[in-house]
Symmetry: C2
Subunit: 419 residues, 2 copies
C-alpha cells in the first residue's frame, strides 16, 4: 500500500473478527476459558465445518488435500496467477487458548470479508488455508499438514502416525470427512502470509503493536542420559559416589550458560527431567533430560551445539561416566522472504502501528511454506507472553491491527484492481 | 572375651546360619533373587511364624508387645538381670534383599543355638527380638516398632498409620496374630547389639571383615520448591525468564558441595526431582526436589543446614524468586555406648578378623535402643555396597564372622557361667 493507494483507508472490522474468534472458541471450550480441540477429533471436525461453513457463506471455493489441509479460495481476475495465501491451524493443545492458530485462519477470512464488503477484486486469487495437526499434541510430528504439503514429511509417514489409543491419521481424516483427493503440494502458492500471536513477551514488554518477523529460529532438540551408580544416600561416602544428578545438573547449567553467551537470540532450555529411581534416600543412578537450543543463525546454532558437545565430552572424560546425547529433532533456521518482510513492515508503518522486528522462537506452518513461496509472518502481542495455555489472551485492538497489516500486505501481492 | 577365657574357641556355625538365611528368604522370594516381604502382610506373618517356630525349637520363650515386636528369650541364671538383647527386623523393601534385617535376627538365633550346642549358661538372659516395620515401605514412619518401644513414636500414632489400600497397622497386627498385650518399652534391656550388613561400600573397598560402628549419622530431610514462571522455550528471551530448574540445579549443586566441605562423614544427596510441567519446550514453572544431608556430629549437621539455608536465601534474594524449604524429617546423630563399641572391637581383634570403624549412614533399630540401653552395632561387608535391592549379597565367611563377633560381644555382657 503506497500512500497514493485509493485503498489506504481500507480496514477490517475488528469487532467481527473478535466475534468469530469467540464463536469458534466455543467448540471445545474449557472451563478455564481455553480450548481443547485436538487434531482430527470430533471437536476438530466441528471446528473445521464451522470454518468451512463461514467460508461458503463468503462465497469461497473449498478444496481439501490428502492430508486434510483445506483451502478456501476467493478467485482473482487473472486465472493464471497463483493465489496469495494466508492461514494457520485450528487444532489446539490439550489446554490451549483461543488465539494460537485460530487467529491466523479467522484473520484471513476477515480479510476476505472486508474485500467482499467493499467489492474489491484482485488480480491474483486470495486463499485462506487451515493446515492439519500443527500442534502435534495428538499425533507427531508437529506441523504435519504443512510439512506434508512442503514435501518434508511423507504422506505415508503422516498417515501411519497414531495417537495413544492407536488411532491413525488416515482413518481419522476419513472418519471426520477431511480426507481429500488433492495431492499435497500440487496446489500453487504465489506468496504466503501468516498472522499469529507472538507466544512470547517481547512486543508487550516493548509496548509495540506489530511484530515483523524476519526469521524463525533454528531448533535442535536432544535427549541426554547421564549414567551414575544407584546407591544408598547414607552409607555411601561422597568420594566414591557416581551421582548421575550432580553431573546432569552441571550440564543443565551449561545449556543455559551457552544460550546466555549468544544473546539476544540464543535460547537454551531444559524442560523435562526424569531421575531414576527418584527416591529420597537413593543417589540417582540415571538421569534423562531434554535439551532445547535455538538460534536464528545456522552457524551460531552449530557453534552452540559444538560448545554443548564439548562440555559433555569433558564431563564424561573427567568423571569417567557414560553420557549419551541423542538428537531427536532439528529445524534449521528460517529466513523469510525480504520482500514479504518489507511489505509487512511498510504496511504497519503506513497504518500507523508501532512495530518492531521479532525473531520467532517458536515453529509455525510458515516455516514449511517458506520453502515453497515467498513467505512472511505478522505477530501481535499476547498477554504476559503466555500461549499454549488456557489463559492465553490478546487485546481486541491488537487482533484488529494484525488483521489490517495482513489485509494490506496481501493486497500488495494480490494487486487490487482499481476501478 | 579375654585370651584367658575358656570360651575363646567358641564359634557359631556359619553353614547353619547361611542355611537359615536362605530358608527365610524363600518366604516372599522374588524372581531376581531378592525378597518382598512387606510389614504385616501375609508373607510377613509367614516369616514371623517361621522365626518363632525356630525359636521354640531352640527352647526360647516368646513374648509379643502391642506393636508386634517379638522377643525370644533364653533364660539366664540370674533372674534379676535384664536380658542382653540382639535383633533387627524381618520386613523388607518391595525389592529388598535376603540380608538386610534378616541377618541381625538369624545371627541372634545362631548365637543362641551355639550356646545351646555347648551347654553354655549365662548369668543374664539372652534375647533375640524382631522389630515391627523397620523399613517403612508399607507404613510410615520407618523403624516403627523400635520407635514405639523407645517411646519416640506413640502407639496411637503407629496404630493409625495406613497403607495405600487404607489398611491400618492395628488391624493388620490383629489379622496376622501379632497384636500382643505387653506394653511396648515395659520390657527391660541390659544391652542391645545389632549385626547388619553395611549397606555401603566402605568395608569392601578397604577389604575389612568387621565394621565397628561408633555412631550413626544424624539426618535431615527437606523438601525444596523453587517457583519460576512457565513459558515457551522458543519465544522467551533468556534475560526475562524465571527458569525454576536453573535455580533448582544451582541449589542441587550446592547440596553436594556442602557435603564435600565436611568429608569424610558429610553426606548430601538430592534423590527425587519433579519438574512442572515437564515438557520439552516449556521453561519449568516449578521444581520440587528432596534434600538429604547427614553427619554424625550434631553441630556439624547444624552447620551444614545453616550453609544450605544461607545459600537458598541468597538465591531467593538475588533472583527475586520464591523458594520454599520444608523440613520433613530429622534424626539426631547417635553415638553408641563406648563400652559396647569397645567390646565389639575387641571381640573382632580377638577373633582375628580385620576390622575398622564405620560410621553408619543409614538408620537402624539400634538408634532407638541406644536411648534405652547400652547399644552397639556390628557391620559386615555387602557386595558392591548394594542394599535395598534384590541383588543384595554378602559372603558366607562374612556372615559367619559377624555372628562370631556378636556371640562374643553378647557373652562379654551376659557373662557365661564357668563350670
Amino acid at each position: 500500500m503506497s500512500s497514493a493507494s485509493p485503498l489506504r483507508d481500507l480496514r477490517v472490522r475488528g469487532d467481527r473478527l473478535c466475534h468469530s474468534l469467540l464463536e469458534l472458541a466455543q467448540i471445545g471450550a474449557t472451563k478455564k476459558g481455553g480450548v481443547c480441540r485436538l487434531a482430527l477429533t470430533d471437536l476438530d471436525q466441528q471446528g473445521r465445518l464451522w470454518v468451512v461453513d463461514k467460508a461458503l457463506r463468503l462465497g469461497l471455493e473449498i478444496t481439501t488435500d490428502q492430508i486434510g489441509n483445506t483451502f478456501m479460495r476467493r478467485p482473482g481476475k487473472n486465472t493464471q496467477l497463483a493465489p496469495i495465501m494466508t492461514g494457520s491451524h485450528i487444532d489446539t493443545q490439550p489446554t490451549g487458548g483461543k488465539y494460537d492458530g485460530n487467529y491466523g485462519v479467522l484473520a484471513g477470512l476477515e480479510v476476505i470479508e472486508t474485500l467482499n464488503d467493499h467489492g474489491i477484486e484482485t488480480e491474483a486469487p486470495i486463499e485462506v488455508v487451515f493446515w492439519t495437526n500443527e500442534e502435534g499434541s495428538r499425533f507427531t510430528p508437529v506441523m504435519m499438514g504443512s510439512g506434508v504439503f512442503a514435501g518434508v514429511v511423507s504422506l505415508e509417514h503422516a498417515y501411519e502416525a497414531s495417537d495413544i489409543a492407536g488411532k491413525k491419521v488416515k482413518e481419522e481424516l476419513q472418519r471426520i470427512g477431511f480426507l481429500g483427493e488433492q495431492v499435497p503440494g500440487e496446489h500453487p502458492c504465489g506468496a504466503y502470509f501468516e498472522a499469529h500471536i507472538e507466544q512470547g513477551p517481547v512486543l508487550e514488554n516493548k509496548d509495540k503493536v506489530i511484530g515483523v518477523v524476519p526469521a524463525v529460529m533454528g531448533l535442535r532438540w536432544f535427549d541426554c542420559t547421564v549414567q551414575g551408580f544407584e546407591a544408598h544416600a547414607g552409607p555411601t561416602p561422597m568420594d566414591i559416589r557416581i551421582d548421575a544428578l550432580q553431573h546432569a545438573t552441571s550440564i543443565m547449567q551449561r545449556v543455559v550458560a551457552i544460550a546466555n553467551e549468544f544473546k539476544p537470540h540464543g535460547r537454551g532450555t531444559v524442560g523435562m527431567v526424569q531421575v531414576f529411581p527418584n527416591s529420597r534416600n537413593v543417589i540417582p543412578g540415571q538421569v534423562q533430560f531434554s535439551i532445547d537450543i535455538r538460534h536464528p543463525d545456522a552457524a551460531t546454532l552449530e557453534k552452540m551445539t559444538s560448545l554443548l558437545k564439548e562440555y559433555i565430552a569433558q564431563v564424561s572424560k573427567e568423571k569417567s561416566i557414560a553420557i549419551d546425547l541423542k538428537e531427536v529433532s532439528y529445524f534449521p533456521p528460517c529466513n523469510f522472504d525480504a520482500n514479504c518482510v518489507d511489505t509487512i513492515r511498510q504496511a504497519a508503518i503506513d497504518l500507523g502501528y508501532s512495530q518492531m522486528d521479532v525473531v520467532s522462537g517458536a515453529g509455525h506452518d510458515a516455516i514449511y511454506m517458506n520453502r515453497l513461496a515467498p513467505t512472511g509472518m505478522i505477530f501481535i502481542p499476547c498477554k504476559d507472553g503466555v500461549s499454549h495455555n488456557e489463559i492465553e489472551d490478546a487485546k481486541a485492538e491488537h487482533l484488529e491491527a494484525g488483521a489490517n497489516v495482513l489485509l494490506h500486505s496481501m493486497l500488495a501481492f494480490a494487486k487490487p484492481i482499481h476501478r
